[in-house]
Structures are given as structure tokens and as C-alpha cells.
Amino acid sequence: MRNRRIDEPMSIYRRAILKGGLAAIAVAGLPGFAPRAETTRPERRVIPSSGVSIPVVGLGTWITFNVGTDPVLLDESVAVMAAFFEAGGTVIDSSPMYGSSQDTVGHGLAKLGYPPVFAADKVWTPAGGDGREQIGASRRKWGVRRFDLMQVHNLVDWREHLETLFDMKAAGEIGHIGITTSHGRRHELLERIMREYPLDFVQLTYNILDREPEERLLPLARDRGIAVMVNRPFRQKALIRRFQGVRLPGWADNIGAFSWAQFILKFILSHPAVTVAIPATTRIDHVRENIAAAADPLPDEAMRRRMVAHIREF
């Protein structure tokens, strides 16, 4: 699970971390970054097929990390990554479809001295390109030895890519295999693939408003021992905007939710089939807020029903 820079021994990474690579970045004056002495480690969950455990809140890179070569925005992205790692996060998810996001992740990992990362990426070749070649290019952009998770992006050419991914996994070139969809699309096909192939992961959209996966996909994932990565937890900020200016219900304290973002994330993470959610952000305070949502207590079933009923009022 722990990745490291290509062609360099592990000890260098340990040393870099021990020497306080993150603190060095902070001292270098990255905007808004200030190391905190005490942090609560986020809850971890096990990937059923491998027994590897990962923190339940990861970091998405869709739009937020697509900053090109802008030095200011690159520095901000590094600061976000630094805060993420410092808070105990490890799972970062990207895709070759996300513009320069992979380059930004690679830039951040290099700047931070290659802290432990669970590197999740996707293969996406809409024009029928070579998946293995693209994965190699993605790996070089990240600067990692191998991907911990490689997923077929939005089911594009899924048969061909799954075949490649199973070969690569057998050869030890990738850690886990997954398949993704978003916005609730193509769930029937996703379900069929989940039933027919020994997937490690499935990535889908699930949140307090987009609850269709609760009916079939999430129970199926549990039955089949497939880890679930949740994308679009906030519907790309739309959910947060929806509740802007609205007071949290008083009982949100009971589940340790102190913002709507935490309220929404806790709902997602409290589903027993969910392994990790990957909110994307450009703000350090939001990174910390998201990871803090992973701390106990999480809502039980009765509380989940109450949460759903409450948001229906808006």
C-alpha cells in the first residue's frame, strides 16, 4: 500500500518523513499551512480482498488539482496535500482525464518528500489507446513505483482494460483493481461487472441525496467483498451551497458534526459498505474538516433515517 518514488530506496522516504518534510513545507511559507501538534487519526477500514486498511477519508483531485503550471495554484495544492497527510490521510485519487491533476499530485508528492500514499488512479482511453501505456505515463507523473489501485474510468472500454489490469495485478504491477462510475450512471452494467469479475474496488457516487446505490450496489459490494470508494460526496459543492446559511440541527452534535460538510460526510461514512470517500478541495481548513468527520461517533441507522428526513425539508 505504501508507495514511494520510482527507483529510490524506501529508507529515503522514511528519512524524509522523519525529518519533518511536511513541517519544512510549512516553514517555507505555503499559504495557510500551519502544523498542528495534536491530530486525531482518521478511522481506517479494511479492503476486504487484501486486508489492507486505509483511512476512510481520501482526497479527490477532479477540477481542484487541475491547475496547469500555475506556480501559485501549485503551491496551494501542495499545501492541501501537506495538510491532508499531516491529518493522517493517505488515499489520493486521480485520472488522466483530469487535466493536469496527476502532474499536480506528482509535484506535491515530490515537494513533500514522498510521504506514504495510497495511490489510486484510473485508465481512460476514450479513443481506444493503449491502457498499459497510459498507466505507465500516469505512474511517471505521480512519481510512484506502482499504483495501489487502478480503476477503469467510467466503464470506458472496460472489458479490454479489466483484462489488462488483471494481468498487471497478477504481475504485481498494481495493488488493487477497480471500476468507476459517477453521477449515478450505468448502475445496471456496474452491477453486472461486480457480479462477474473479482474486483477489489468499485467507485460510485453516493451521498445523502444520491442514495440509489443503497438499494443494490452497496449491499452487493458487501456480499462480494468489494471495497467502495465514494466520489462526489458533496455533488461538487452543490450540496454545501444548498445548505449555506442554514443552521445545523441541534442534534448534529450527537454525531460530532459541526458543519454541513461533516454532516454529509458522516452520513456517507456511516454506511457499512463504504470504505473511503474522496472529497476534493482547494482549502486546507476543508481538508481538516473532512478528515475530522471520519472520527467517531458516526450515525447509527436510526440517526441516518433522521438525517435523511431532515434534509428533505430543504
Partner: protein, 232 residues
């Protein structure tokens, strides 16, 4: 990709508005002080439109071709493509527009430009003056820093709008009509992008494209240039 009907415009937006607007600032910083000669040449072209010279009809397309080339490399390739992979496909198209303008205008001499009376003349001058002098200030009006202003020859929108203006002033001749296609398409694409980003400026390229189509469709004397009084 399947189920196209279920996608919304926002699903195709790969970048944040902030990242997009900062591209222009980065491009301006990278190419500085190119903006100064660009604006001077732009002003000189405006003067040539009111006092036409035979050599100017060869020089204006050369300047226009240089602007399209510069945008294709200096903006699309070096900056925009980094955050939007679709931009890569526009690069050869922009280069093609530059070469076509150069071939038809500078080499073949099939483009003549003059500020004339009439709807096409007014629209042509208005679009050109707007692209040259006013469009760079839109950033300020929208609350962004002036160094992020969009200048002809560096940013695609003012380049496309200026081209539409100049082509509105050129008599319609066989073989020159395709020149209007790319600027129109780019204006539509830009309007779509800006609208998807939630930027109010989306109406600008859309209006420019509509005005250019109107100017192109409006009946007028065709063929030789007149030295009538300027339209504006």
C-alpha cells in the same frame, strides 16, 4: 462515453474559474512586453482602415495571421492545454486559420479592408475597436486584476472578435468566406465555456458572433473598396 443525454454542461468543465482566469495573467506575464507592440500595431491597423493603402491590405492579414499563430502557441499550447486537453485539438485549427489568412490576404491579395458606411462597416469597426481597446478591460470590470486582461494576439477571444470585425469590413470574395468559420466557432465554444463556469462574460463572444453573422448576411455593395467617409 455513453448516455450523453444524462450529462450537463458542467460535467465537461475540467477546471475552476479561478484557474481559467489566471491563465491569462500567466500568459501575459510570460509574453510581456509583447502587449505593447500588439496594441500599437492594432491601433495602426485601425488607422489603416480609415485611410486605406494598397500595401495595408497585405500587411493587415499578416498581422492577423501572426496573432492567430501567437495565440495557438502562446496560449492554447503553452497554457490552456495544460488544464483542458480539448485545447490541444484547437492548436492545428488555429494554425490553419493563420495560414489561410496569410495565403488569401498577404500572398493572394484577396482581402481588402476599409471602414465603410452601412451596417457591415459599423459592426466591423465596433467589433474591432472593442476587441482591441475594451476587451482587455473586462477583467477589471469583472473584479479581476488588470494583468489578467485578454489582449489580441495573446488571448483567443479578442483575437477571434477582432478577426470577425476585420472580415466584416472586407468585401465578400470567392474563397474568403471560410475565414469566418473558426472565429465564429471559437466564440460559440468560449461562450459555452464561460456560461458553464457561471461567468457573466459569456454573452460577449456570443454577441460578437451574432453581430458578425449579421454583418456577413447584410446586403451591401460587393467587390471594390470605397473611400467613403468612415462609419464610426
Amino acid at each position: 462515453m455513453q448516455e450523453w443525454w444524462s450529462y450537463r454542461p458542467g460535467d465537461f468543465l475540467l477546471f475552476s474559474p479561478r484557474t481559467y482566469w489566471r491563465l491569462f495573467q500567466l500568459a501575459n506575464e510570460k509574453l510581456w512586453p509583447l502587449q505593447i507592440p500588439v496594441l500599437l500595431i492594432g491601433a495602426a491597423i485601425l488607422a489603416m482602415l480609415f485611410r486605406p493603402r494598397a500595401w495595408a491590405d497585405r500587411a493587415i492579414p499578416a498581422a492577423l495571421a501572426a496573432a492567430w499563430l501567437c495565440v495557438s502557441v502562446g496560449f492554447l499550447w503553452m497554457h490552456y492545454a495544460a488544464i483542458n486537453w480539448v485545447a490541444v485539438y484547437f492548436v492545428p485549427v488555429f494554425v490553419g486559420e493563420a495560414l489561410l489568412v496569410l495565403w488569401l490576404g498577404t500572398v493572394r491579395g484577396r482581402l481588402t479592408f476599409a471602414a465603410e458606411r452601412g451596417v457591415a462597416g459599423v459592426i466591423g469597426i465596433a467589433l474591432y475597436v472593442y476587441a482591441l481597446a475594451l476587451h482587455p478591460l473586462v477583467a477589471l470590470v469583472a473584479g479581476r486584476p488588470l494583468p489578467g486582461g485578454e489582449v489580441i494576439g495573446i488571448a483567443p477571444d479578442p483575437t477571434a472578435i477582432a478577426t470577425l470585425g476585420l472580415l466584416s469590413l472586407a468585401p465578400r470574395r470567392t474563397g474568403t468566406r471560410p475565414l469566418i468559420i473558426l472565429p465564429i466557432l471559437w466564440c460559440l465554444a468560449s461562450a459555452f465555456t464561460l456560461r458553464t463556469m457561471g461567468a457573466s462574460e459569456g454573452w460577449i463572444p456570443l454577441t460578437a458572433a451574432a453581430l458578425a453573422i449579421l454583418a456577413h448576411a447584410w446586403p451591401r455593395r460587393n467587390g471594390s473598396r470605397t473611400n467613403a467617409a468612415p462609419a464610426c
